[in-house]
Symmetry: C2
Subunit: 285 residues, 2 copies
Amino acid sequence: MKSVFINGLGLIGATMAKIIKASNPDTIITAHDTNPNNIDYMVQEGIVDHGVDFATGAKQADLILLATPVSIICQSLADLTELKLKDGVLVTDVGSSKQPIMAAAHHLMDQGVHFLGGHPMAGSHLTGSQHSDVSRFINHSFFLVNGNASDSEITAYKDLLKTGQLSFSALTAAQHDQLVSATSHLPHLAAFALANTIIPEVDAMPINPGIPSGGLLDTTRVAKADPTMWTAIFTSESEELLEQLDHFEKQLNILKEAIQKQDGQTLQTELKAANQARLKLEEFK
Amino acid sequence: MKSVFINGLGLIGATMAKIIKASNPDTIITAHDTNPNNIDYMVQEGIVDHGVDFATGAKQADLILLATPVSIICQSLADLTELKLKDGVLVTDVGSSKQPIMAAAHHLMDQGVHFLGGHPMAGSHLTGSQHSDVSRFINHSFFLVNGNASDSEITAYKDLLKTGQLSFSALTAAQHDQLVSATSHLPHLAAFALANTIIPEVDAMPINPGIPSGGLLDTTRVAKADPTMWTAIFTSESEELLEQLDHFEKQLNILKEAIQKQDGQTLQTELKAANQARLKLEEFK
């Protein structure tokens, strides 16, 4: 993979670029981004060799990495079917909703182009290439949802990312979307709703509420995430998210009813379960 | 205030003890705790002079500080009415639900004993005296809900805590409970429910989900909080919490309906509002 084209140099795209360049200094990386600052920064850093338009970059690449919001990844997969790509090109992505992306890649795969879906599990409320960091994904999961890539292509792609020290796992698009809805989209939804509940309440108080508690700051931290990106995620993967939201509302209701009935025993049982579950999260490696 | 008796040397009680001793090295601090390790630790640290039973400690003190869970504070306020306390004693507490505590203090105040409610806003999922730290509350709010203490008693109490560098605010029990329900109890409830939603889902997956994202860890962090303490809080201040939970469910429903209708515009508006609200939280000082 001598030539890599990356569409989108936000936090994730730029981190991928840094990992690829660190693993393979001879690889030529071209990139397109609607924000010229991201291109300028990455060229100055010596990671991206030069900026290109989408069609030019795609046609010259051995690897095309789509690193934009999901809706644009889907559009790019359609656009690629109109271009004469290099023989043996591998198309991949880092989008967080795999079912719509795999569906959008179908036409391209029907043309014989190889597509491998990917998703590094280490997002951030930070955005932009300047927050990218080659160590960002170390030991984090990188989920692979394969379309029609060969084993050797998958191995070559993993090798291209070796500096990232990622923990690769293969799963289906449906498994991926369910897992990500539960562990990422639902917590974001809850945090956005919590911020919209709490802060107007605090503003209406006649006193200065003082420095917020760590608990309040932590619980709502991901509500700082980019509204445009998360609107795209919530609408592109709505089925799984609505299912997870149903589960969450059921859990809220269990606590609500126990509080209404002053049922300390049920509360104690539920809070202990949550306690154990949360502590267990820290055991995953 | 030459002699202070503290009932309960958990994280908050022990932190208060350290602040009082740092401000006033000559003050004798006695304490009672059902866990002898907390007493031993604090005596070894040179903060608590010696452990005592509740009645002995209370009867000898110029200041009685109740630092147990709320239900036990209420019980202690009743127990104090049965004891011959020192003339001019000030009774105070650090409980997180002020309306039930002020109600429980009524009989004692009717006897002419002075009571001043207090609540430092810097909890933690950590528990126990060994995590106490004189710097824990610096610049954090310390809410004062006065019963019948005089201005000079309030000034003397603030002075006793001067090393803590606390930011004192006076408010009514109802204001306090509404504010704390919104900014502390609701986020805890949401975190407990989220942990109970997400983790069983993750456990059921056929793959290792890898290191959890920072977002998931942060959003659920306070679900590590002590189930017994939080069962007491949820049941003792249920009216305000249920009201906040209603508000939260409304916000969840706004997002849910927008997702169901694929209404990107509403989602964008709501997520932007949450974004701004959350960023505003960091401005409070």
